[in-house]
């Protein structure tokens, strides 16, 4: 990856789009420190992540919530235990307080009566909602979402998108969403960065992306009949 320079705004849903294999997930993994970078900087409110020592990196990671493509819920734990887990590791809350916080987060993602279920008993959409609840349990400053709609039906995708948008605005979080779903881009995208072959190709907002004439972006955005129709209507 090279020549990527972008500022993600707080309280906004920042979207990174691009074709499969363009480097979106690699970029995300670099941002959260799962992959090392050869050069450049990743700044969290002025703190250069890779210049920090172990403690400093750990402090930033505690401010990060992440929604993985498959949910990445802990198989051996129930829904409630999954949400309570980061609270147990990093807070001195009592058992009651942790349970209350978990219930609050689960209700916030509209997941009631699922506390004692295991991840294997949940649908794809429910898993994503539990993952969001776990991510927001520790009140993160930064929320990273790796293809939150992958494997979901259109209706559930809208629910998850809306939830991400609402949470971002409600808690004033810096949210970064990786997706190749144009519906999500149009639904929730405040700022958009288009990546092509590992490079930042374009940046703008959802109105600008529909107007652009750049070939690579048009090939991506108008790949479906639905988007082609939308373009015609827009014009």
């Amino acid at each position: 990856m090279k020549d990527i320079n972008f500022t993600f705004e707080t309280g906004k849903t920042n979207i990174i789009i691009g074709e499969s294999g363009s480097g979106k997930t690699t970029l995300l993994k670099c941002m959260v420190g799962l992959n090392e970078i050869d050069s450049g900087e990743i700044l969290y409110d002025g703190r250069s992540f890779f210049d920090l020592d172990f403690k400093g990196k750990k402090a930033i990671r505690k401010e990060i919530g992440m929604l993985f493509q498959g949910g990445a819920l802990f198989d051996s734990k129930t829904v409630e235990e999954n949400v309570v887990f980061p609270l147990s590791m990093f807070t001195d809350m009592s058992v009651e307080e942790k349970r209350d916080r978990a219930n609050f987060c689960l209700q916030r993602v509209n997941l009631n009566n699922a506390n004692n279920l295991y991840p294997s008993e949940l649908s794809g959409g429910m898993k994503k909602r539990v993952a969001i609840a776990r991510a927001i349990a520790v009140q993160p400053k930064y929320l990273f979402c790796d293809e939150p709609n992958s494997g979901l039906d259109p209706k559930t995708s809208i629910v998850i998108d809306s939830l991400i948008k609402e949470i971002t605005e409600e808690y004033n979080i810096t949210t970064i969403v990786i997706t190749h779903d144009m519906n999500s881009v149009i639904e929730i995208g405040d700022n958009i960065m288009f990546i092509y072959k590992g490079e930042k190709w374009w940046e703008g907002n959802k109105h600008e992306i529909l107007k652009t004439t750049n070939k690579e972006i048009c090939d991506f955005v108008y790949a479906t009949e639905f988007m082609k129709d939308l373009k015609e209507k827009f014009q």
């Binding site: 799962l34 402090a59 990671r61 990060i64 992440m66 993985f68 498959g70 990445a72 198989d75 590791m89």
Partner: protein, 246 residues
Amino acid sequence: MRVFYHFGKYYLFIKRAFGKPEKFSIYIDRIFEEINILGIGSLGIVAIISVFMGAVITIQSAFNFESPLIPLYAVGVAVRDSMILEFSPAIVSLILAGKVGSSIASEIGTMRVTEQIDALEIMGINSAGYLVFPKIIASLLFNPILVVFSMFLGILGGYLFGIMAGVVTDYEYIYGITYEFRPYNVIYALIKSAVFAFIIASVPAFHGYYTSGGALEVGRSSTKGVVYSSVLILAFDLILTQLLLS
């Protein structure tokens, strides 16, 4: 050169696993969880194998000691020494490397490919410490108990089946298992079992932790974990025997 690369990688992995815990109380809970899964869950298989192995050694020894110059109590001596010196520490550890090792490698490997380990890392948790340290400690604490349990059941199995088959008398067997007993042999067995316990928990965990890909690679990591830990157990068996008994 690849050997040095993997050895260095394993060393760094173990160093990470023994890093400072985020919250000690959670690690204590995890150790008890692992004792239950890895230790208590292995009692059944260890018991069955030990009883039958003790019985087989008794009958085989009696069959081979046909000379009238060899007293029949030598059967008890053979069973005792075979169980304490080799069978209980080494063979039980090899069996555990298969049972526990494959379970550790596949559990951690699955967590890796389903991004659960990444989730731990992003939360700011030392994933190697959280996942592997409790397994190593649980194994170190419980393996010697399993080995002593195996020694007891093996000798008991030899006694019961020896009497039932009529190859040895009650008096001769008990005289044999107490004849010139060296308590140091038990200490030697416990030292070996502790070293093997470390191998059984850490080597499959290492292979599981560095799994990349999907279900096929999880299976491969599991196989590698079992094979490498078994080979290391045999190698350290030889080294420790030479060091402690020569």
